[in-house]
Symmetry: C2
Subunit: 462 residues, 2 copies
């Protein structure tokens, strides 16, 4: 991969310019206003794949946003890598908290990234990481060093639940045949501590609506005699966890995979500083399920978080209203063996059962997906380990992440394929938050590492 | 008052046209964007007072919105009535719930108002009611039947706490000397059940802010290990009331005036149907402090309501954010002997004391005011009773209202004057809500009743 690595070095400025182009398109899948931006992004990717040297690239329609599919089959006897990524991004709000506009990428130096980081929505999640694969591929093709067949499947609905990708995968099993799936949508522990993600949490995302009176009431004339939907919603949410931060939904923990003492001891070896963690997000004190450490709470334990809440008067000043409705978005991160459909149902039944008879409650399951565990002893994982060892000069540590890429479990179920979660982001990248960023180091380290993986995977599969 | 009543009948269409003009100005005091509209409204009122025949009218500046003051002194030996009202209105949102635009008044027939009602923000609260006084005054002057001296004091900050009116009253004690204060900013039980308000609740309005991490976090990467400010806020709010809907703030009930069995039995005589109440606002069941009836809960008992709540992602779709902050507006209605400053302080101390050490909490008192009780045996009250008996053909029932007109307690404290709360609205007028309306019957009944009060008051004071 000597020539490939030289090609990458020579073209690094152009690669960055191209990524900036991609980041300028506000492809927010959650917001229907951005429909055209998503279609534009898909078109842009198709052209880039074509110029990178695929056999063909095409935009496959779905009931939602299209999937960009491309492949280069050099030899049926060689192993095939299926690269998955997504071109959609999270909403950028609250906009006022961005130091520079979310869709006008800029390079800024930071404490963590003295060499500079790309600030933009999607810089890390997942445009920057996904685009690294296109550029690594381009380099290998240009230098005639591509050692495997490649298939690209880049979707536009990851941030809203990948519903149509699931259907697409089921309908295209034959076309998607491969030896392994390669995904860069996760992170490493630090720029000098490479790691590979070997676990992901599942997700169950709900929206709840509490309705009291049929209109907003004057809180003086009615207050005290009519159940206030906001007070009720707060009481219901408060009751979902107990004083030990255990989730109180009956049956919620029934299928949770409890780790052995040995496994937990192994996990505890990964470097982690509670002080640095607290300082990095400026919290006075950590918090979570009793009996577990922060790394455990964010990986092997399920959670329940309110992601958004709204109701009544939220403008300036003081409006004395007893509102008709209150609303919340509540999501649960799930661990292996918990099933998202089952958990959504448990939540729905429980939430309705705790509603007092003074209000009406509606529960809408939004989206969900299953957690996953990647074995550390199969060929692709070993190849990934060797690849990162080459690019970082250090053996990567296997870590479980608290995030969710629901489609990974589905890939295994439908295609029978394991995924390698070889991401290059950092926890500090502020994905899903204002000022999302992606280190230049990390962007280029990804492009550098990917060809090594191809190379090692081909060797190990021989 | 024969000629006066005939004049009113002859001019009723013009009176309505003029009120429409007034309702078209969006004088929302809570929203700084409407500053010019408030000034315009004050100017409009001054002109109307002048043409109605006052000795002089002027716009008295304050640190906030001005007070429109006018007087007509016909004879220092005659009693003087000080009319108070307000020209500002509540915000109109949620705008999408209005069937017709909030500031484009229209007449629509309703079940309760088969003769038609005026639909507009401020139609009842308080432009319609306040304007009735100007028109009644105009009629008495035009017919040479004015039996008392009159002072008008119309403010523009009632919906945001009347802070500057308090200062104004203290600075103008001499100018405001009168025998009684007359206010139409309350209601009657029904169009065939006249009533006079003899109690108002006080108010303590707070804004609370809970801050966790210094930025919005990814709920997968951090969820489970960081206190979520929305979950925490919900827990804190939930703990403010117990299972009997008692408020748990220590000391909250200490000064509450507990009514005697006899007083409660007297109250229970006022006509009230729980079924009709529930049906009118489409609630499945009433709710409130254990041991009290709905009329008691809305009048003689203090309350705590969340008026608004917001935090995290509230747009369409599913954003998996663990938010940095959560916010709520919480207000308490107070009963006689509870002091709003004291209660605000109790709330603040308690709310901070229940905050876990994983977040920081800020409490901002917004505005407050004291409750009041009107005696039913003093001359002005007797005059009001006679006036309504004349116009409605029935003796009015004394009722305590759950609403607050904080300035009433201040009038008594500073000016030593009792207020007559002779309002003509109905509970169904949806004041502070979408589709606020004011029956044509009620608008005209007010204009008809006011001259009778002047007449009776003058006679009784002789």
């Amino acid at each position: 991969m000597q020539k490939t690595q030289e090609y990458i070095l020579k073209n690094k400025d152009r690669f960055l310019d191209e990524l900036f182009e991609l980041l300028r398109i506000p492809s927010i899948s959650a917001d229907p206003k951005h429909k055209d931006d998503l279609l534009k992004t898909a078109e842009w990717l198709k052209l880039k794949m074509e110029s990178a040297g695929v056999d063909f690239a095409r935009i496959d329609p779905t009931a939602g946003y299209p999937i960009v599919y491309a492949e280069k089959m050099i030899d049926p006897k060689l192993p095939t890598i299926l690269v998955y990524g997504h071109y959609d991004v999270q909403p950028a709000d609250p906009l006022e908290l961005w130091d520079s506009p979310a869709f006008e990428p800029v390079i800024k130096k930071t404490k963590i990234h003295p060499e500079g980081a790309i600030f933009a929505r999607g810089a890390c999640d997942d445009k920057g990481q996904m685009f690294s694969h296109l550029k690594a591929f381009e380099a290998m093709v240009a230098c005639d060093e591509l050692p495997c067949n490649v298939k690209f499947m880049i979707e536009g609905e990851e941030e809203v639940g990948s519903e149509n990708l699931g259907i697409y995968v089921k309908e295209n099993k034959e076309k998607l045949k491969a030896d392994v799936i390669l995904i860069s949508d996760t992170g490493i522990i630090a720029n000098d501590i490479p790691s590979l993600t070997v676990g992901l949490r599942g997700l169950s995302y709900m929206e709840v609506h509490v309705t009291g009176p049929n209109r907003d009431l004057h809180s003086g004339l009615y207050g005290g005699a009519v159940a206030n939907p906001i007070n009720i919603l707060c009481q219901m949410i408060a009751s979902l966890t107990d004083e030990n931060n255990h989730i109180t939904i009956p049956g919620f923990y029934d299928k949770v995979l409890e780790l052995s003492k040995e496994d937990r001891a192994e996990m505890a070896k990964a470097p982690f500083s509670q002080e640095a963690f607290n300082k990095s997000i400026a919290i006075p004190k950590e918090s979570g399920e009793k009996g577990f450490t922060t790394p455990e709470r964010t990986s092997i334990r399920p959670t329940l978080d309110v992601n958004g809440i709204w109701g009544g008067y939220t403008g300036d000043g003081a409006k004395t209203v007893l509102p008709s409705q209150a609303h919340a978005k509540i999501s649960m991160r799930l661990v292996p063996h918990q099933n998202s459909v089952e958990i959504s149902k448990l939540f729905e039944n429980h939430f309705k059962s705790i509603a007092p008879d003074t209000v009406s409650v509606k529960v809408v399951p939004m989206h969900g997906g299953e957690g996953t565990v990647v074995p550390t002893n199969f060929p692709a994982y070993i190849a990934a380990t060797k690849a990162l060892e080459k690019s970082f000069g250090k053996k990567p540590i296997p870590v479980r992440s608290g995030g969710s890429i629901p489609i990974v479990a589905l890939f295994e179920e439908v295609l029978g394929l394991k995924s390698i979660l070889m991401g290059f982001g950092l926890d500090s990248d502020a994905i899903h938050s204002p000022n999302e960023n992606f280190g230049l180091f990390n962007f280029y380290k990804g492009i550098e590492s990917i060809p090594y993986f191809y190379d090692e995977f081909q060797k190990i599969k021989k």
